[in-house]
Symmetry: C2
Subunit: 337 residues, 2 copies
């Protein structure tokens, strides 16, 4: 190990081995730089943030350029250099297939020396690790702008559900909830559906005067995050007793619980009798306590009805730290093997 | 009237007054050039076609440039000149608000002399006119790549439903049907839904080997028409007895009928007792006879259950001709007034 130095920010760095953990969701990408040895709590030497790096959304050249930038920025924040990197773990939305993993690994090899350990996963994997201190065991549900369920067993079997983007019906995601709310406003306006408090609240929030103008608003910017940002309005309308908003949130809870149950069943995470215990990690803005109408708590209730042994975990560290912890654990496993 | 001349194609043109009728849908835009006097059947002097000219989809400069090109091409086909144009009727998807109409009218004024009569409508309006020989009375349902219901009364009251694009839940459209089918394949794959024949048929049709690859496929090209092109597969799976495909088509029929009924109710097209008679014009690939599973016939059945006086019309002329007929009718009305 190199000597420990203080950088300008009073942080260690320069010569000491570090690990990069990256979490790339549908809205933003976070990279943290942590020491290459294990300590608890893990000190964060550097942290950088950029926009969405899903290659499906922004294109591969743009995704790579942004991933490179955010990693170099976190390194620079830590006062570290590329040659200090011992391991990298990327958890990026858009990694849906082994060939996506391979492409990213090949690209990382062009930037970092060959001795650097590299791990590439879907962002759901590092979110799971953020709730299990780096262990890949249990099930995670992410519901932010997008949504995905992912699970892993100790012997390495994996499964996922949802996470296929807005065209393919992720109706429990923030985007899905908000799109259903906008649809409800259009339906109330043209006579296909019941009147709803959502109309006034959404029009006010978007500074529009008529539901007709929502059509142009949705086309004006294809960003899902912009649409997902309407979720708090749906929650507050449901809390105010609006039955249409209430129904939309119930649909979201049903869809989110359905995707978790599909993963738990496929991997038999609760054992053969369905009564076994497993961590159920919950990540993302949609699942955070919303006040009276708590989507996360409703999903927990729905899961516990089927799998009483599930124990809900709301991670105390962010998914990027989960990525770093996962890299540490995977390195340890490789050393043990 | 100018003298009638033969152009190179043996068509009349040059100096004779003509009318341009334009139909711009979610997939393509058609312009026809017809004589400025009324005759039956209406001879088509020129016809040109280009891609989607919805300003929401392709941007305003591109939409205008393409509209101008397609009109000039139809004129040139007819051997006519800009100075021969007596009237223009544009029916373009994306015209959802009076300000959309005004913008297009101002732009047309820059291209055509001030004596030219100009009419700008949503494409649903000219589709209605194609089934009523240019009269704005009754209800039209378009279900192609997108879907919309539109109705008009003799005293000029109008209403519409759906037609708000894929974000806003046009589930009866070709895009909507195909998106639900793709979602069903993803749900069957990850354990959220029942197995379905759609999986094999859609993967074969797209030359993909696994449902995971559908995610990348949907992102690769945002064109709705590409997704809507899967509708015949859904129909053939339903005809083969697949319950998932059958359910998707039932949902589409329900949504399409819902939007028609909303318009009929709002305008009281069937009178106060709901038994009055009105034309119900049906346009678009989704509503054309599909074989055993006939979406259009199912929609007719659903409408007739509520409004027995509706008489279904499948237009014998294309919507662009409807636009030209509408221009002729509107001009006549103005002359009478």
């Amino acid at each position: 190990m190199g000597s420990i130095q203080e950088n300008e920010n009073g942080r260690r760095g320069g010569g000491e081995e570090v690990i990069l953990g990256v979490d790339g969701g549908a809205t933003s990408t976070v990279c943290v730089c942590v020491p290459g040895d294990i300590s608890h709590p893990l000190p964060i030497l550097g942290r950088a943030i950029t926009a969405c790096t899903n290659h499906n959304s922004v294109g591969e050249p743009e995704a790579r350029s942004m991933l490179k930038q955010v990693m170099l920025k976190a390194l620079s924040e830590a006062g570290s250099k590329v040659s200090d990197v011992r391991a990298i773990c990327l958890g990026v939305s858009g990694v849906n297939h082994p060939k996506d993993e391979q492409r990213l690994l090949c690209w990382l090899r062009e930037i970092f020396p060959s001795h650097v350990k590299m791990y590439v996963h879907n962002d759901a994997v590092v979110a799971l690790a953020s709730g299990t201190m780096g262990k890949l065991k249990g099930c995670v549900l992410i519901a932010g702008t997008g949504s995905i369920s992912y699970g892993c067993t100790e012997d390495g079997r994996q499964a996922r559900a949802s996470g296929a983007g807005p065209v393919l019906g992720d109706w429990g995601s923030g985007y899905g909830i908000a799109a259903l709310a906008l649809t409800a406003v259009m339906k109330a306006h043209d006579g296909r559906g019941a009147q709803t408090l959502l109309t006034r609240c959404i029009l006010d929030s978007l500074s529009l005067s008529s539901p007709d103008e929502i059509i142009e608003w949705t086309y004006a910017d294809p960003s899902w995050a912009r649409i997902a940002a309407l979720v708090p309005i749906v929650v507050s309308c449901a809390e105010a007793g609006d039955p249409v908003a209430h129904e939309i949130l119930n649909t979201a809870v049903y869809e989110l619980a359905l995707s978790v149950k599909a993963v738990v069943r496929k991997l038999m995470l609760a054992g053969e009798d369905g009564k076994g215990s497993f961590p159920f990690v919950m990540v993302g803005g949609v699942l955070e306590a919303n006040g009276k109408w708590d989507i996360g708590q409703e999903v927990i209730n729905a899961i516990l009805q089927t799998y009483a042994g599930a124990y809900p975990v709301r991670p105390k560290v962010e998914p990027a730290i989960g990525a770093a912890l996962l890299a540490l654990n995977l390195m340890l496993k490789e050393m043990e093997a």
